[in-house]
């Protein structure tokens, strides 16, 4: 049996700080790389170097054909050792990439209105979802509205690009430095009250407290809301059980699912809260 290499080697084309502590990394991939779907992620490591020992998961921020090669974009924030090391890697350096991994967002063609709710780096997979929808044949017939929240205005990395793909974009910051002063879910909730009839398709990604707040306000709503979840990972393929999150199954029993394999995208109503 032909053995697949697990990782491919990708060259860094650019790795630029676009906002304080926020980096946009573009990678050149070999033509064998399977095209990712919105919500899927990759595990990355510096080639032949350590630390970090384990790969780190990042959502696909964009993917396209660039001349003869494939290009993958990641948008990331420096939060610890691994991301700090990645942020220092110069152009031309090689990364080991595993992916695309996981199950992405479901796009229901009958729901023509999409609402994206992003907290912090949650903007990455949602921005790819918007690009993906826009690039498809019927892309222009979709209405995309986004709600984007961050700690402070300078942390709104990725906003410029997302805005161009949305008919409306609402912004919130925790410190009030831009847009609504408060949490992005409060902003969305205000708008939800004015929303009648058919619920649009809601897609979200962000920190746990934000997702929980959203789950609370959507309880009892008929609509469909998919969330991309984050958890620390080791293997990325479902073998280590390190990335478990609590999920409620149909019989209302709580069990653990793997973010890497069963997710990272879940139905928000299936999440179990402590």
């Amino acid at each position: 049996m032909a053995r697949k290499r697990t990782t491919v080697s990708a060259e860094i084309i650019q790795n630029r700080e676009i906002a304080p502590l926020h980096f946009l990394m573009t990678l050149r991939l070999p033509p064998t790389f399977h095209p990712p779907y919105p919500g899927q992620f990759v595990m990355i490591r510096a080639e032949n170097r350590q630390p970090p020992l384990l790969g780190r998961p990042f959502s696909v921020y964009d993917f396209y054909h660039d001349k003869k090669a494939l290009a993958l974009e990641l948008l990331y924030r420096v939060v610890g050792q691994g991301t700090r090391i990645f942020s220092l890697l110069p152009q031309g350096e090689k990364l080991e990439i595993l992916g695309p991994l996981g199950r992405g967002f479901k796009i229901d063609g009958r729901r023509r209105k999409l609402i994206l709710i992003a907290g912090g780096m949650g903007v990455a997979p949602l921005s790819f979802l918007a690009s993906y929808v826009r690039r498809r044949g019927a892309g222009s017939s979709f209405e995309i509205v986004s709600y984007v929240g961050a700690r402070t205005a300078s942390y709104l990395a990725g906003l410029d690009k997302l805005e161009t793909m949305c008919s409306k974009t609402f912004i919130s910051t925790d410190d009030g430095s831009l847009g609504y002063h408060g949490k992005v879910i409060e902003l969305f909730e205000d708008h939800l009250k004015t929303c009648h009839g058919d619920m649009p398709a809601v897609y979200t990604c962000g920190p746990y407290p934000m997702i929980r707040q959203l789950a609370d306000i959507l309880r009892g709503c008929s609509g469909f809301c998919q969330v991309s979840m984050e958890e620390r990972m080791a293997c990325g393929i479902g073998a280590c059980l390190g990335c478990a999150i609590p999920i409620r199954n149909k019989d209302n029993r709580q069990l653990y699912k793997r973010v890497c394999k069963d997710g990272p995208v879940f139905d928000i109503r299936d999440l179990a809260w402590r």
Binding site: R3, T6, L53, L54, E231, M233, A234, L241, A244, Y256
Partner: protein, 315 residues
């Protein structure tokens, strides 16, 4: 295959009555039940697959977060999540049989009776070649002290499992003890057919901003390159004092790490955390080992095992 290779070295080893085509196995808990790895590894090329630890009833495992990377290693507190022995036999074994894998089942329990029950259930299952008993888990009847922390309890578990099965039994030791040799000897006396070591070393890590532990379970087991020197030292100590085969586990990332274990006397090795980083790690190590033997003119892996020259270079 490499055309320059003049001969293929003999890689087969026998571990307490289990004939393995080569001495490379997967460490329990790092390879699931094999399914996730089939795109990357021919399961039947592995010496053996040691599956994720199995208990009598399914276990949900610990709350997240369950893992954290630390210097040259990782902490895990997965909490022995598994499908339980019945589902394992029904849902996982057919797949492993189809792939012609040599399967060793890692088992654990909260009481000695539980170990026995799991062992009994696996006794006549087609395709199961041996059992590996994990004695690193807490003994519920004795205030949660690990079975493997005391020689008398460790040997009690080993003996109980031996009487419950006809399969060869490997006992996997915990390094969280004062005297590893004492424990190894006690399980050998109890009838263990082989001894594997080491399981993870208990550790912890703290988020200094939030002042909370990085793991929900607070403590976790350390694995990866950070533990290799400890694992190697313990294997070296144990091989001098037991007659049964010893299997080295801990921080093996490439064939050079594996070679160190063979040289100190391990008859086989298990690859754990490395599987997470490169899913082909076991195959890379196997091929690397074969190349090393060819290049060194060694035609049987046995000629390498236990060849440490303790007198060193100078003498």
């Amino acid at each position: 295959m490499d055309k320059s290779r003049k001969f293929s070295p003999k890689m087969a080893v026998n571990i307490g009555g289990v004939a393995l085509k080569n001495p490379i196995m997967t460490a329990s808990g790092t390879f699931g039940y094999g399914e996730e790895f089939t795109p990357y590894v021919d399961l039947n090329r592995l010496g053996a697959i040691i599956v994720k630890g199995i208990s009598l009833k399914p276990r949900r495992g610990n709350l997240p977060p369950r893992i954290m990377e630390t210097a040259s290693g990782m902490l895990n507190a997965v909490g022995l999540e598994n499908v339980g022995v019945d589902a394992f036999i029904k849902e996982k074994m057919p797949f492993l049989r189809d792939h012609d894998a040599t399967v060793i089942v890692n088992i654990f329990g909260e009481t000695i009776e539980e170990y026995q029950k799991v062992a009994k259930k696996l006794d006549r299952i087609d395709g199961v070649c041996a059992l590996e008993i994990n004695i690193s888990c807490p003994n519920v009847k004795r205030g949660g002290i690990a079975f493997g922390a005391r020689p008398d309890v460790a040997s009690e578990v080993a003996r109980a499992v031996k009487t419950a099965t006809r399969l060869p039994v490997m006992v996997k030791l915990t390094p969280n003890v004062t005297d590893i040799v004492e424990i190894a000897q006690s399980v050998e006396d109890a009838g263990a057919d082989a001894i594997s070591l080491i399981n993870t070393i208990t550790g912890m890590s703290v988020d200094i901003e939030k002042r909370i532990p990085h793991l929900a379970n607070i403590t976790g087991g350390l694995s990866g390159p950070a533990i290799k020197p400890i694992a190697l030292r313990m294997v070296w100590q144990v091989v001098k004092h037991v007659h049964v085969p010893v299997i080295g586990v801990g921080g093996i990332m490439d064939e050079r790490d594996a070679l160190e274990f063979f040289i100190v006397g391990a008859k086989a090795v298990q690859v754990g955390t490395a599987n997470f980083i490169h899913h082909t790690a076991t195959m890379d190590i196997l091929e690397g080992l074969e190349t090393y033997l060819v290049e060194s003119g060694i035609d049987d892996i046995h000629d390498l095992i236990g060849t440490l020259r303790e007198e060193g270079e100078k003498c």
